[in-house]
Amino acid sequence: MEILQLLISGISQGCVYGLIALGFVLIYKATEMVNFAQGDLMMMGAFFAYTYANVLEFPFVIAVLATIATMALIGVITERLLLRPMIGEPHFSVLMLTIGLGFILRAIAGASWGNEPRSLNTPYAGGVIDLNGVILGYENLVIMIGTALLCALLYCFFRFTRLGIAMQAASQNQLAAFYVGIPVKRIYAIVWGISASISAVAGILVAPVSLIDPQMGFIGIKAFAAAIVGGFGSLPGAILGGLLIGVVEQFAGLYLPTGFSDVSAYIILLIMLLIRPQGIFATMQQKKV
């Protein structure tokens, strides 16, 4: 029973890691930039949801949609103003830029919503399903269903829509994408928008479980580990890596000495890099020069 219980909380935590990792991977695949502010975008999403649901008292579904729209807009604007001028600059500069962006977002959040933790009003908070002694909280259930739905939606988008295929095309061969008339720069902006709204969903999903505060974005680092474990560049890998880290974290918390829970993500990362550096799903190819 205990194992099942741990598994459930591990999976739901892993889903959140997976969603943030998805954001990392999406941006990396499309633009070859690593956005270290991904976790902070999630934090912003959670705060916007808090504003819409608690302060402005929108109905929950409306608040969720408004949050997604807001974050998509923020993603697009960020790309347009900060990242686009960096096209062609060294990766290192872009990296520093996104780390700086994370600091700025945390400062903005601290200044506008304060540093004390807040909780998000959700219609489903507190409810539980009792499955023969295994307790499944509604929050956890919603996290799992939400993640599954979002993944299905993204799969269909990338597989069947023209824009989705064009995004794949742009990430597979940027120059050829330009030559066939795909507006690659606009595609980058859209990718940032999608990535930011995925983070927003992650923020909304995790908000009822952990509280909202400006520092909550730091789980982005664990999500980054998840993305690498999954094989940076693979969307299913990101989710799987997230789940792996989430579950191991829960078990480490119970069976290993105190403190192991927090570092287990990095232990997995190190082991992974030693035995299978390309990650679970190897999609990275040798770069053509």
């Binding site: 095309a169 994408a177 330009f178 066939v180």
Partner: protein
């Protein structure tokens, strides 16, 4: 007025001047060819036309519109299809998706019909429509790259060394298709080639480049019979009086 006009183009790779003032005209409805050895700057000329590189000086005019400095996708939407050197297909998309992406900027209902027409040009591709492009052979990828550019319904098609790494049979197959496209769809073509024989056989008007400059231009008929071209590009040479050639006689264009 020519469909495409380059006037005094100068393009740099960093500090290196790759194009040293080139002017050329591509007349509508014709196959123009650009010949030259490795490193002469042929590919750079094409990249400058399609906007992948920006010229430091000079003007690129297409249909009377100044297009230098435009993003490549915008140039493509104006009707310039570019088949880059080394195929550059989208490796993990299927053949059909590759072709659909070629028509990304179009919004008319004829796209499916155009895909059929590409399959008519290249029947091999039809059998592999659902396969990932990465698993095609080099020749098939080249066909796919040409087909993808056709999907744009361009008024001008830039072809960068379509014969690169292909067997002689495939080269003549590709050459036939180029002639057919030019003939059937009245499509203007600018062909960059190392394979001078093939290019001069199908081309109407030709330019010869050497280290960033155009050193010779004429109709392909005349170029074919020019002795310099015969020597340097076609490998034909008369033996000298004493049965050997003297290096002193070798011409340079500089």
């Amino acid at each position: 007025m020519a469909l495409l006009e380059l006037t005094n183009i100068e393009t740099y790779y960093g500090p290196i001047m790759a194009i040293r003032g080139i002017s050329l005209n591509v007349e509508a409805g014709r196959i123009s060819v650009l010949l030259g050895a490795n490193g002469a700057g042929k590919t750079t000329v094409l990249k400058t036309i399609s906007g992948a590189m920006e010229p430091q000086k000079g003007r690129v005019t297409f249909n009377g519109e100044s297009i230098q400095g435009y993003d490549p996708d915008r140039v493509a939407r104006l009707g310039i299809g570019h088949v880059p050197e080394g195929r550059e297909v989208f490796p993990f998309l299927s053949v059909e998706e590759n072709l659909q992406m070629g028509a990304f900027s179009r919004n008319d209902p004829d796209i499916a019909q155009d895909i059929e027409r590409v399959f008519d040009y290249f029947p091999v591709l039809k059998d592999k429509a659902r396969q990932q492009a990465a698993y095609l052979s080099g020749g098939q990828q080249q066909m796919l790259a040409i087909g993808r550019a056709l999907m744009l319904r361009p008024t001008l098609m830039l072809l960068d060394e379509p014969s690169l790494g292909l067997s002689p049979r495939l080269v003549s197959e590709i050459a036939d298709i180029i002639v057919r496209v030019n003939d059937e769809q009245r499509m203007t073509i600018l062909l960059v080639e190392q394979n001078a024989r093939m290019a001069l056989d199908i081309g109407h008007y030709g330019y010869v480049m050497e280290v960033g400059r155009i050193v010779m231009e004429d109709t392909c008929e005349k170029l074919k019979s020019a002795t310099d071209i015969q020597e340097f590009y076609l490998g034909i040479r008369d033996e000298g009086v004493r049965g050997r050639r003297r290096w002193k006689q070798r011409k340079t264009w500089r």
